[in-house]
Symmetry: C2
Subunit: 521 residues, 2 copies
């Protein structure tokens, strides 16, 4: 990545109309994983006064938005969905070029993003997501009259969104955090992701278009172009999180990044919440009868799941736990064959590949962990990485807790247990995770029962006879979980409840009709 | 307070049966505010291994409680309510002796505590507080089948409760935090409050009795006796918050105390949430026509509110804002006369009185702030403090933000504005508060409208034509608010939602009927 200082004619996507740049902007280019070479397009890097300017505009827009009927937000969310849909193939082309993810994978992600925006629009229109509650007065109550109490969720204030490298659409500029924050009534300031700046700018322009069409205050949404790997890249995030106008932060990414923001926000003069979704190990347990009956089919699904997007998913199954025996050996053989015959895929960036290799090295150093399969070698150019299947015994897993840490990329550890008891112990020792899965035949249920009990205490979602990847966008979904999967176990990043992260309850006591919030009349 | 090391025959209230003391315990005595002298009763101070022992028992009880039907918790909560009711007058006598609060005030608080326990019992029996949600499967959906998703709130784990000095019953050993945590399914470890150890032990014994009667695991509730002002007093809280078995913390008290726990819990290897309710300035706005029509009646109510429990309430109105003129002068005169003729009341402790005086000194140093009324002098013995009414101009309030900080004790500042605009500006500059109040006649509504809009952004509860003290225990109540009133604006310490602090959502995906949690079948 190159950092250059030179004048560019105009912003290709002028999504922050309140801001006029005083100086020739610094620019950067990002690298295509397919070639390993910088892409020709240049992107601005937001200077400090732009961060300040968009945050102040967001604060103004917050007041403006509060006074608007909810229909305004519904129109905005639907407008954003339509604008993104209207970008067509060009969005997918640029996103694929920047991330190395396939166009079909990105098309699915784009549809998911649009679906999310519409789901929140419907929820806002319905209104029950703001949890209105009414306690009737009882003026005649003995001792003291009981007051009239009416509660509703109100927005916290402007939200800073840090998108994910691995979901350039669904967890980025106009992804779940942005959609749920706007639905809540919070203006959004997005820190543009340095690995997909073109995608980010294109989506930001689509959002800006929808902001104008819906007749919204321009400060309702801003996008801060960011990248180049220099000091400024880090500084933009810090300036944003510590800006007095910002009331909450949404983050999807690494454990290290999430906890750094968590600490930064907690150290502010006025601390604000950070909602960090940081990935996890997502264990998959396959019980003996399920393994015996459909081991090959499960191996096929599991292979697809852990190599999906080259393993760069927060819900990637990192550990698969089976009971030793002929079923396990047959299963391991099918899985290894699938891995061995697969081509190497691209990684999102060179840095992510390096982190993966360094983590893989640490895992490989653990005595008793063996690499048992590896995909076909990488091409000479581009940022490629073959998938790797490792194997160890449950006793090793319990002796080396580092094996519970996420390895972001195409690696999975097959853990072989001696018996059901050892499997149960492995479940009981799992750290917090976004999700876990259990494959169980009807005849496995006696073993599945205590396993379910142990896992449900440790995860945000428990999947049966399916895999942890593929998070359905649906009201009851939970994409969250105990630390270290997230820093806020009581929340979810997907599903209608995701909106509550950006809200707080307010109670009106004995309010005259004319002074009540509309929805409480 | 005296710190003594000597053997006591037996714990008067052996509420931690799992723990056998290895050494002669350290003991302390607390001081009665009525006399300023130590009370004869001696109280143990929990040693480090007792903290460890009760936390481990709580972890065990957490697993046990999870596996129990919810009816067990309902029985426990109702049992605790009944046990506390059965303590009768002796509880009020000891609580009054330790806190200096009046017996009628404590009787009300006791009834409130019992009501809270029963409210949560009813909520658990009903089950909707756990927010079950169901998204039906659609196996025939194009592209991919839609899974069956079922969400429910589950408990976080053992909760540490730090009670309040000023509510020895309702926000202490078996108060709102304990009741809501047990309702959520979380075992509770209470750090006994050093200012009311006899009250705490008596309530803890009543809870212990209910735990046994309901057939619960003994680790479901523990009380750590704590006091004496030495190193050990501080250490007990630190050991508790940093114990690996503890999953969340409830705190009611000072800003300093709450933020210290917040930082301590955030710095753990595995950070946990602290829900700190820290008090605030709770401004009261009286609009001109309301002032003209019923100024004297409002002055009477306001006097009662700010001197209730000698001003030692987190919802005490700290600022009362009026528009200058004859109405304001008449109002100020009535208020001053009430203050001048009132007797001095006790403070909870000498340290709380010292903090109050030190804070009052700082406020008094602000140029343009005048003391305009003061209650009758204190008696020679005991920990008494007269109430004080201060007065300043709105311009001074806006120039010296320190006037927005809480002054815990019997002081209130009358703020006189030049006009409605200045009053509106005062509202817009308010920091986060638990509550605010507006007195407005029908004819004041044009002014009340923007005032309401400004205040609702800054408070957890907005009261009309009434005062902020007297927090109704009712499902829709919100006792929370933006920082610095609390560190978790999205939560409430009173009302049914208080239970959600101790919960997190879990989603079951495609779970076979037999493996689903009971309430999701």
């Amino acid at each position: 990545m190159r950092l250059k200082k030179r004048r560019v004619a105009a912003h290709p996507f002028p999504c922050n109309p309140g801001y006029a740049e005083p100086m020739p902007p610094a620019t950067f280019r990002c690298v295509s994983p397919f070639t390993g070479q910088p892409i020709a397009r240049e992107h601005r890097i937001a200077p400090p006064d732009e961060v300040d300017s968009v945050c102040l505009a967001a604060a103004e827009a917050f007041e403006w938005l509060w006074a608007q009927p909810r229909g305004r937000r519904v129109a905005l969310l639907r407008g954003i969905a339509d604008s993104i849909a209207a970008l067509g193939e060009s969005l997918l082309t640029i996103a694929s070029e920047e991330t190395g993810l396939s166009v079909p994978r990105l098309a699915g992600e784009r549809d998911r993003t649009i679906f999310t925006l519409r789901m929140f629009a419907d929820a806002v229109a319905d209104g029950s997501c703001f949890r209105p509650a009414f306690d009737a007065a009882n003026p005649g109550r003995a001792a003291l009259p009981k007051p009239d109490l009416r509660r509703v969720l109100v927005p916290l204030g402007p939200v800073a969104v840090f998108g994910a490298s691995n979901f350039p659409l669904a967890y980025s500029t106009a992804g779940g955090d942005t959609a749920s924050a706007l639905a809540a009534g919070c203006p959004v300031v997005v820190k543009g992701h340095p690995l997909h700046p073109g995608t980010g700018e294109m989506v930001a322009a689509a959002v800006g278009e929808a902001v104008r069409s819906a007749g919204c205050h321009h400060g309702v949404f801003a996008y801060l172009p960011c990248g180049g790997g220099g000091e400024r890249e880090l500084a933009i995030g810090q300036e944003l999180v510590t800006h007095p106008a910002i009331a909450a932060v949404g983050f999807t990414g690494s454990f290290k990044g999430g906890m750094a923001l968590h600490k930064l926000a907690g150290a502010r003069a006025s601390p604000i919440p950070v909602f960090a979704e940081m990935g996890s190990i997502n264990p998959v347990f396959i019980l003996p009868d399920a393994l015996a009956r459909e081991g090959a089919a499960i191996a096929q699904k599991l292979f697809g799941s852990f190599t999906n997007s080259n393993g760069q998913m927060c819900t990637k199954p990192g550990l698969v736990i089976v009971q030793g025996g002929p079923g396990a050996e047959a299963f391991a053989e099918v899985l290894a064959a699938l891995v061995n015959s697969a081509p190497a895929q691209t990684m999102l960036s060179d840095r992510i590949r390096s982190s993966f290799l360094s983590r893989l090295h640490d895992v490989g150093e653990v005595p008793g962990v063996d690499a048992v399969a590896r995909s076909r070698p990488s091409p000479d150019s581009g940022i490629y990485q073959p998938a790797i299947l490792l194997r160890t015994a449950a006793a090793t897993l319990s002796r080396f807790p580092t094996l519970h840490d996420e390895c972001f990329g195409p690696a999975m550890i097959l853990v072989v247990c001696r018996d059901a008891e050892e499997m149960q112990r492995a479940a009981a020792n799992m750290p917090g995770a976004l999700a876990a899965a259990i494959f169980a035949a009807e005849s496995d249920h006696a073993v599945a029962q205590p396993l379910t009990a142990a896992l449900v205490r440790r995860v945000g979602r428990l999947v049966f006879n399916g895999l942890t990847t593929g998070v359905e966008v649906s009201p009851a979904m939970v994409h969250g979980g105990p630390y270290p999967a997230t820093n806020q176990p009581h929340t979810t990043a997907v599903g209608i409840m995701a909106l509550e992260r950006w809200c707080r309850p307010v109670c009106y006591q004995n309010a005259p009709e004319g002074l009540l919030a509309g929805e409480l009349r």
